[in-house]
Symmetry: C2
Subunit: 279 residues, 2 copies
């Protein structure tokens, strides 16, 4: 497939559209515009295929002839998405990478509240309390997607799932997994309404993480990278679970701990929804 008309070429980094795109590395600008960046043909395609709306598609002029890029350009133009081509140098400035990919797109953010989350009869939910590292958040969304979690709730002040680091680490799962934001009291009322048991991974855990039960409708809650969960939140949990750790070792990375909790809960639910050979 070829496009009848090549995308508008912009070469100046001081062009207002380029400046707006470059500015999306800052939270304030993402909030003001409601946009965020996703880089690479695979990610952009995943966003479009999942029904996310692209505001602007930017292609590297040097890679415009690639079939995948051509397809994206045709599709973007058909969707009335602003479509431009830029030199590699400008592409690098937008994505802040030395070796930028062929395309980057600015997508419209989606904001969900607890009311927007689908209620389910079973399945595992994940709540993240005040987590701060966007790489951790993106990695956790990716793992949540792999384990087919029902959804993720970001509690109180978490880092931005639409930051370029989080989107990159999510490897496209930001387009796939349902996530919502909430304060803790509203969340706790919601999870009780939903009949979700709440298990925290905690250094104060009194039962080993794989001896806790995650049957039926279960929710795992993980705390901040440094501080964990506050005592009053731990007090509202049904179970405090301890992930075993070698004597002398410090602590697991938050995303690693979340993966261990998620896979244990999913194991107990018979890996429902898994693909391929299962032994």
């Amino acid at each position: 497939m070829t496009t009848s008309m090549p995308p508008l070429s912009i070469t100046s980094p001081s062009n207002p559209l380029i400046k707006r795109l470059r500015g999306l590395d800052r939270k304030r600008n993402r909030t003001e515009t409601g946009l965020f960046l996703a880089e690479g043909t695979r990610l952009v395609l995943q966003g479009l295929n999942n029904g996310w709306q692209a505001d602007t598609l930017v292609c590297a002029s040097s890679m415009l002839e690639r079939p995948l890029v051509q397809d994206l350009v045709s599709r973007a133009m058909a969707d009335q998405t602003k479509t431009i081509q830029v030199p590699d140098r400008v592409m690098g400035q937008i994505t802040r990478k030395d070796n930028p990919g062929a395309v980057v797109a600015a997508f419209r953010q989606q904001h969900r509240t607890l009311a927007d989350l689908a209620t389910t009869n079973s399945g595992i939910w994940l709540a993240l309390y005040e987590i701060r590292d966007p790489g951790n958040l993106g990695t956790i969304l990716r793992t949540a997607d792999c384990t087919g979690l029902a959804g993720v709730i970001l509690l109180e002040t978490c880092c931005d799932p639409y930051s370029i680091e989080a989107v990159r680490a999510s490897m496209g799962s930001v387009f796939d997994i349902a996530f919502a934001t909430s304060d803790f009291p509203a969340f706790n009322a919601w999870r009780k309404d939903q009949g979700l048991t709440m298990t925290a991974a905690s250094v104060n855990g009194t039962i080993r993480h794989d001896e806790a039960s995650y049957s039926g409708k279960a929710l795992i809650i993980m705390g901040n990278e440094q501080a964990g969960l506050p005592p009053d939140i731990e007090a509202t949990c049904d179970t405090l679970a301890l992930i075993p750790m070698r004597g002398g070792a410090d602590s697991l990375n938050l995303a690693q701990a979340t993966a261990i909790m998620s896979y244990e809960a999913w194991r107990q639910q018979g890996y429902a929804g898994a693909r391929g050979a299962t032994g």
Copy 2:
């Protein structure tokens, strides 16, 4: 504890020692000097406590009065370690961080071969084949340390465990966990000599990861982030294990997959060596 003499003050970023330290962000310079950087009082202390030799200790002049920094300075001076103080700006240049910590130290690298690894009668080993992301490597070393793995073997051309990203992500486990480098043939002969069964996590897995057996002396092997393991290496494995994945999801991050494998193997070995409550 106070030092009788304050550390030599260097303020110019073009001072040869400062330039040498700044250069340690490059693999070539780390190889030439045999040094690597570890930032922060906690990490530096962990290195010293584990018997690693510091070549140079750098302190931020603005934080020289802190008791922990004073202790490190006294200790470094007693060890004949070069000890200097620099302005925050120079500290930021050495560590390439906007908010650098109070100290950074250049430590001597340690290089182990298979022959240097302690042989054990049981326990879990981990081999990493051509992994490329230093953040993944550091995170994996941290998790290997938490699960008390017997050791880690870096096969063929892996990223550098002494890069600043790997050291940072390891949170000090680089000083704690035994790791060696090897080519694949020598490694494979060694693991057979040791009587280690070899299980790969693979998309070609024929048995679920938690239905594979990791009893006695077991080794887990993980492949490259993009390509996984080459077919001829998979063919030498005793077991190819599949980590379940939701239909439609892409793949797990390598460090996440390694954590899931390590914890399953450790679970089967009764969490030997774990601290605290175990349910």
